[in-house]
């Protein structure tokens, strides 16, 4: 009531002002009184099987949504990390009585949306179809059938997105953050790798479902144009028969902050920017007394366009953006500041971030800045309320985290009441520059030296892209080893110069698949430098022929001559024994360092052709064999790295050849197995004729 009188008064006042003068345009109009936010109340239904259902009425639109959430302890996935996500995706792919096609058809028929995850399900439809949606949702949750073919599809999909991101510096930084903050035996430290996804089995997914999809640990929020009276019979009918069962609990050690700053670097030679993360785990539980106040401290430091942004972007122009986040969590929260800066200013940027972290702990925040942070926080809260699902989430949170009933309805009042003393106190409690991990993914040779100063002991720790620690001093190239010695050893390990020279021609037949399409590749190479390559992938058929001088490509688009860089590459490929004398082939080699590849130490050799093509090859220090070749391909869409891995070396006529090849480029990846490899079968010279 008060509010409306207030509005009437302001209306009258503004009318008076208006008739008297023009608006004052010189500064932004002051905000009105903070809106009184009335959060809708919610009803609750408790089923005998332990299922807890919240009903949030919102009759704006004739739409109803349901979100189903499992409340279980985080689970360690160990060597098959990723299986929880995949189990979640598998849910929607079939039930005892419905195929995937039927689920698709029935969902679309009612114009609904429905998605599943490892922690539950979200679905939404018009009110008149809600019963049907409940029927579908309960079937998916209670009676799923997991099929191997669907698992295989999902694993392939996950693998290709991993291949695309494995070298992405932001992803690498996040892995190191998880690993250092939480330690190896904590579920928050786990991340998917190609290996772990490879280990996922149908059994694991099924066991996860069987053990944890139980009504007694489940919340459902039904939100929208529905009453408790309408929802109750539906909930009973579709979820009443769901059987309860005891669910396992887990206890994990509380992660500790480091006693002094620790500096961790992932060496990424190709980086032109350093990705920086500074932070530590934080013991801040969801909904605890401190969350709102500490949130304001973090906003002032690194929210929106606040201090970190102003300092690093606007004042110093180090970066496009710099932010910080303070994330509450029941098990283990964290504080993390993040930015990406050009190599040369890496240490300066870290200095500025740490000094801002210190400043908010020591200096009193000005009232105006505090007010801005409050406006920002209240505004974001208000905007989030537009989605009725937010209220459903609030209901679940209140129950799940045992929050006071008025936690969300009193949210803005609590924001408004935060004082600058509290901002400082909270910063001292949750933002700890002297107990932070300083994590940088970048070009170590350019930046690592200047990062020592951030560690009291002057130590920079090195990690590989999957978080395995190594000592770079052990990776110093041993005395006497150079490109020539590595390559000579490689030749020796392949079978020796004499045996290689006996190879006059070679036929390699490979098969594999990419994106579900079978691929067959046959390559014929003949001395001195002829090549014929045939690729069949589904309906596509393509040939490349090189007669020693000229090359052509034949496909549905007709015959095209290969020129430029591509021709140069072709020449190198056609040369069967270039390895025996790179100098003669116009190629210079340089040993540029040592690197770990999936746990193996390797020598990294840089190759440069006479025409300026460059690539790297990696040779195992133990077996001497070549494990990888990487190339950076320049394209108008930016630089793409093409990685080819070699494995499963087997001997044919005294010479070893890799029988497994895996090539990835951008998001594409193809694995190939050699089915047949023959030497000296003297293929007809006619096949290398480009004019036929």
């Amino acid at each position: 009531m008060k509010k409306y009188i207030f509005i009437l008064l302001t209306t009258l006042i503004s009318l008076n002002i208006l008739s008297a003068q023009k608006p004052d345009r010189s500064k932004p109009p002051a905000p009105g009184a903070a809106p009184e936010i009335k959060l809708s109340d919610y009803d609750r239904i408790d089923l005998p099987n332990g299922l807890k259902v919240f009903i949030v009425e919102n009759h704006q639109l004739p739409v109803v949504s349901m979100s189903l959430v499992l409340d279980r302890d985080p689970i360690m996935e160990d060597s098959a990390t990723g299986y929880l996500n995949i189990a979640g995706d598998l849910l929607r792919t079939g039930t005892k009585t419905r195929t995937k096609d039927q689920i698709d058809e029935e969902t679309d028929f009612i114009g609904a949306s429905l998605s599943t995850s490892s922690a539950g399900l979200f679905a939404s439809s018009l009110k008149q179809h809600f019963e049907k949606l409940m029927d579908l949702a309960s079937d998916i949750i209670i009676n799923p059938v997991f099929k191997q073919e669907e698992l295989d599809k999902l694993k392939t999909k996950t693998m290709s997105s991993l291949a695309a991101s494995r070298d992405e510096p932001g992803t690498i930084a996040d892995r190191i953050v998880k690993m250092l903050y939480y330690g190896r035996s904590h579920p928050y430290s786990e991340f998917e790798t190609e290996k772990s996804v490879g280990n996922i089995t149908l059994r694991l997914c099924r066991d996860y479902y069987d053990s944890y999809f139980k009504p007694n640990i489940t919340y459902i929020a039904i939100v929208g144009d529905i009453t408790k009276k309408e929802a109750e019979p539906l909930v009973n009918k579709y979820f009443g028969a769901w059987k309860k069962a005891e669910v396992k609990h887990f206890v994990y050690a509380k992660p500790a902050v480091p006693l002094t700053p620790r500096v961790a670097v992932v060496d990424r030679a190709a980086s032109v920017q350093s990705v920086i993360r500074i932070g530590h785990p934080a013991d801040l539980k969801t909904g605890s007394e401190d969350v709102i106040k500490a949130g304001i401290s973090n906003t002032i430091l690194g929210g929106g366009v606040f201090r970190l942004f102003k300092n690093l972007r606007e004042k110093h122009a180090y970066t496009y953006g710099a932010y910080s986040g303070l994330h509450p969590d029941q098990l283990a929260g964290n504080f993390t500041a993040s930015t990406s800066v050009r190599n040369i200013v890496t240490d300066s940027a870290i200095t500025e971030i740490l000094s801002e972290m210190k400043r908010i702990r020591t200096e009193k925040t000005e009232e105006a800045e505090l007010q801005q942070a409050k406006n920002y926080t209240s505004g974001n809260f208000a905007l989030s309320l537009e989605r009725p699902e937010t209220i459903g989430q609030f209901a679940i949170n209140i129950e799940r985290y045992k929050l006071p009933k008025d936690y969300y309805s009193g949210y803005l009042k609590k924001v408004a009441a935060v004082t600058s003393d509290e901002v400082r106190a909270m910063a001292n409690k949750y933002i700890q520059p002297d107990n932070s991990y300083i994590i940088v993914v970048g070009n170590a040779s350019e930046i690592a030296g200047r990062l020592k100063k951030f560690s009291p002991a002057g130590i920079v720790e090195f990690y590989d892209i999957y978080g395995a620690k190594y000592d770079p001093s052990l990776n110093k190239i041993p005395e006497g080893v150079n490109a020539k010695s590595v390559i000579d050893n490689y030749i020796q390990k392949l079978g020796g110069r004499d045996n290689l020279l006996k190879v006059k021609d070679r036929t390699t037949e490979m098969s594999g698949s990419t994106q579900g399409i079978p691929v067959k590749i046959n390559v014929y190479q003949k001395q001195p430098n002829k090549l014929y390559q045939e690729v069949k992938a589904g309906a596509m058929h393509q040939k490349i022929i090189f007669n020693g001088k000229k090359g052509v490509q034949i496909s549905i688009m007709g015959k095209q001559e290969i020129k430029g860089d591509q021709l140069e590459e072709l020449k190198l490929e056609a040369n069967l024994n270039a390895v025996l004398d790179y100098g003669k082939a116009g190629i210079t080699t340089r040993l540029t360092g040592m690197e770990k590849l999936d746990g193996n130490d390797t020598y990294r050799i840089e190759f440069t052709s006479a025409t300026g093509l460059e690539w790297y090859e990696y040779y195992d220090t133990v077996s001497g064999l070549r494990l990888r070749q990487t190339k950076t391909i320049k394209s108008p869409t930016g630089e793409i790295s093409q990685i080819t891995d070699f494995g499963d070396y087997k001997e044919v006529n005294g010479v070893k050849y890799p029988f497994f090849l895996s090539q990835s480029m951008g998001t594409q990846r193809i694995d190939l197995k050699v089915d047949n490899l023959k030497v000296n079968s003297n293929p007809d010279n006619g096949m290398f004729n480009i004019d036929k």
Binding site: R25, P31, G111, D225, G379, L385, Q542, I562, T637
Partner: protein, 447 residues
């Protein structure tokens, strides 16, 4: 006073079961003396307000030697005003806890803010500032030239298939200004001088060429006061607003071309001329699109992606515009499948619609999907504010379509959809573009 009474009654009533019908969107619309059209919708559900300003100017209002102008100008509108310093626009909104954005299409340029409702006045101040006295200088123009070039790279050049819109429209149109797209050509922006930008501003960024549409938690009389306070002093535009009158001649033969792009998988784009969005067939065409490509059980998806695995993605969407636009169907081939194979698969699905009436059950699914989409589009204030302005501007001032448009869909018959497919998706009305990788070469090393 009366309103307060109603609100009290509603408060007392809450807790009782309410009706389940879709509520009517009540709105007020009127013109200020300077010609600004104002639409207000009060919605107290959440304490926020969405403000949109739509200028009835897009890329079709440009001169052929100044393409990209409207979009470039959208960037300049964030530069500042007499009272807003350069670069402050974003900060002001963000520090108020709000969000903002803008976009330029063929027909319009739209600016919008979402703010907590106690900051509504701030939003009006911001929008009126840049409508009244935008400030642009050569430094700002230089900066935005760079930004827009990066945007062009990011959206068109660096993105696989990113040029498809530019390619499709330039192939399908011969005379109408739809033959170029909003991002335009970088060279023309470089050629333009500061005076031209000011001319453009004075011609098109005038209240009589704009719609101010607001939806959210406010009191209508109060909002009217704010609108009056900030917008009434903006002078009415006096220049002639250029609106193109070229009529695209009827296409008589298929147009076919190949585009070589930095892509991994070939693709096919198929475009067909369709009537303007205010024409009667608009509704049948939209339903045809839904039939073909909405949801995992849709015709294109089920047949071409799921069952035959010929494509990784197939879709269709109507580019319904103020002047006659295009219906576009597209498919991205699966690895090892030719673009022509996908093209034929799409043709086969189109033929099915042309030759066989949809069965009752699928037709019912279609109607359910349309109803769901129509109702869900009103879930946010920004969506409502945008729709209100759109209906007013592009549907002959019929703002109330926000409540009644669904009836137009429900009137569409199965025969109407078959007719729309047969009438518009014909070979002579078609433009086909094949997207092929610049290098279709697959290099695998023998060793």
């Amino acid at each position: 006073m009366r309103r307060t009474f109603i609100v009290l009654c509603l408060l007392l009533l809450s807790g009782l079961p309410a009706t389940a019908q879709s509520k009517k969107i009540e709105f007020t619309e009127y013109n200020l003396d300077n010609g600004l059209h104002v639409i207000l919708h009060e919605n107290r559900a959440a304490p926020i307000v969405a403000i949109t300003v739509t200028y009835h100017t897009g890329s079709k209002n440009e001169q052929p030697n100044r393409t990209g102008f409207a979009h470039f100008f959208e960037h300049l509108m964030f530069e500042g005003s007499e009272n807003i310093k350069r670069g402050e626009f974003f900060q002001i909104v963000q520090n108020a806890g709000g969000e903002l954005n803008a976009y330029t299409s063929f027909d319009q340029t739209v600016y919008h803010e979402e703010l907590p409702s106690n900051q509504a006045e701030l939003g009006l101040w911001l929008e009126s500032e840049r409508m009244l006295h935008l400030k642009i200088d050569s430094a700002g123009v230089e900066t935005q030239r760079g930004v827009v070039k990066e945007e062009r790279k990011q959206r068109l050049e660096n993105k696989p298939y990113g040029s498809f819109m530019e390619q499709t429209f330039s192939h399908a149109y011969k005379v109408h200004p739809y033959r170029w797209v909003p991002i335009g050509s970088a060279q023309y922006i470089d050629m333009a001088n500061l005076n031209e930008f000011m001319d453009f501003y004075k011609t098109f960024y005038v209240p009589n060429n704009a719609v101010l549409s607001i939806s959210g938690d406010f009191d209508i009389p109060q909002m009217k006061e704010y609108v009056e306070k900030y917008f009434s002093e903006i002078p009415k535009g006096t220049r002639n607003i250029f609106r193109p009158d070229q009529v695209e001649p009827v296409q008589s033969a298929m147009v076919k071309d190949t585009v070589y792009d930095n892509i991994q998988l070939p693709a096919v784009i198929k475009a067909y001329h369709i009537p303007a969005q205010s024409a009667p067939d608009y509704y049948a065409i939209n339903m045809l699109t839904t039939l073909l490509s909405s949801g995992q059980s849709s015709r294109f998806y089920k047949q071409i992606v799921d069952n035959d695995q010929k494509a990784v993605q197939v879709g269709s969407f109507p580019f319904s515009l103020e002047n006659p636009g295009l219906f576009i169907a597209y498919g991205i081939s699966n690895m090892g499948v030719n673009a022509t194979t996908v093209d034929s698969a799409i043709d086969a699905e189109i033929k099915k619609v042309q030759n066989n009436l949809i069965d009752e059950k699928e037709f019912e699914k279609l109607k359910n999907q349309m109803e769901n989409d129509f109702i869900s589009s009103k879930a946010t204030n920004i969506g409502v504010a945008n729709s209100l302005a759109d209906y007013f501007l592009f549907f002959n001032g019929n703002t109330n379509l926000i409540n009644t448009e669904i009836d137009n869909y429900m009137k569409v018959t199965r025969e109407d959809i078959e007719y729309a497919a047969s009438r518009y998706l014909t070979k002579e009305n078609e433009t086909i573009l094949y997207y092929l990788p610049k290098s279709a070469k697959t290099t695998m090393k023998g060793k």
